[in-house]
């Protein structure tokens, strides 16, 4: 009997477990097909996937801000320069 694939073969819980592997292209072809079929029938998982990707993008953005700097203590500068002489 020929196997038929549909998105109900995975639960939302399993889909969420697989999100990272899916985005990294690490799911085996069969699982990838089931994963994508699930997305066509489940708006909740589509939302999850999108917000997961947004989370990654937002994290990255926080690293791109120019930090507010303040001068470092003079004695720390001197300690660093003195340590260089000792090595």
């Amino acid at each position: 009997m020929a196997e038929t694939l549909d998105g109900t073969e995975l639960t939302c819980r399993q889909i969420i477990d697989f999100v990272q592997a899916y985005l990294d292209g690490e799911l085996p072809p069969r699982e990838q097909t089931i994963f994508e079929l699930h997305l066509t029938i489940c708006p909740d998982c589509v939302n999850y996937l999108q917000s997961y990707q947004a989370t990654q993008a937002l994290s990255k953005l926080t690293g791109e801000d120019e930090p507010t700097e303040s001068p470092i203590p003079v004695d720390l500068i001197q300690a660093i320069l003195a340590a260089r002489k000792k090595t």
Binding site: P67, L76, A83
Partner: protein, 200 residues
């Protein structure tokens, strides 16, 4: 070194590098004064204690001084120093005793017995462009990252913000590659849950 200047260095960095390599004391003072403040801010993101940050900064500069001869200029001087500083922070963290943290399960999505999410919530209203333009949004994300359990926060910082590879992250934290992947997924899931309260 070859005759052609390294590609990733700005003109003034090439000059500074030459002075450093010739052992010019003033050049070392200039490097610490101009680059130190930025590196200290970077370290503060990893190390909560002020004294730790200062010690790590000193370690970072000392290892940078030692590595100067090997620096190829395949990144900017700033990027190179930044990487060294983060590595020093990680060495400190590894050598410190782990404090107990809240279990990550507390932050992960909850499911019903049939495998559906308990509180699926709505699609996020936020767009990338809003986040780029809006300081408050980024501050909120930053605070949410800081609220993650420490060991997960570190993996998220290294992978998604520092953009270190899985392999590098595994090496820095002395974890297996598979473990880094699993933990990164949980860290992102946990952060997504925290942000969902604001954006969902």
């Amino acid at each position: 070194m070859s005759d052609s200047p390294p590609t990733m260095l700005a003109g003034d960095e090439v000059v500074l590098l030459q002075r450093l390599r010739s052992g010019d004391d003033a050049a070392f003072a200039e490097l610490v004064q101009t680059r130190g403040p930025r590196l200290l801010v970077v370290l503060q993101r990893y190390l909560p204690q002020d004294q730790d940050c200062q010690d790590a900064l000193q370690e970072a500069f000392i290892s940078a001084f030692k590595a100067l001869a090997r620096f190829q200029g395949d990144s900017s001087l700033g990027t190179w120093l930044h990487r060294i500083a983060v590595n020093c922070a990680m060495m400190r963290i590894r050598s410190q005793k782990r404090s107990r943290e809240r279990p990550i399960e507390d932050y992960l999505p909850k499911f019903l017995a049939d495998g559906h999410r308990q509180n699926p919530g709505a699609a996020w209203a936020i767009t990338y462009d809003t986040a780029v333009a809006d300081n408050e949004t980024r501050e909120l994300v930053r605070q949410s990252i800081d609220a993650l359990p420490e060991s997960y926060r570190l993996i998220l910082l290294l992978r998604d913000i520092e953009e270190r590879t899985t392999e590098e992250t595994a090496e820095l934290l002395e974890l297996s590659v598979a473990n880094v992947k699993t933990r990164l997924h949980r860290a992102r899931q946990a952060l997504r849950e925290l942000l969902d309260q604001h954006f969902g």
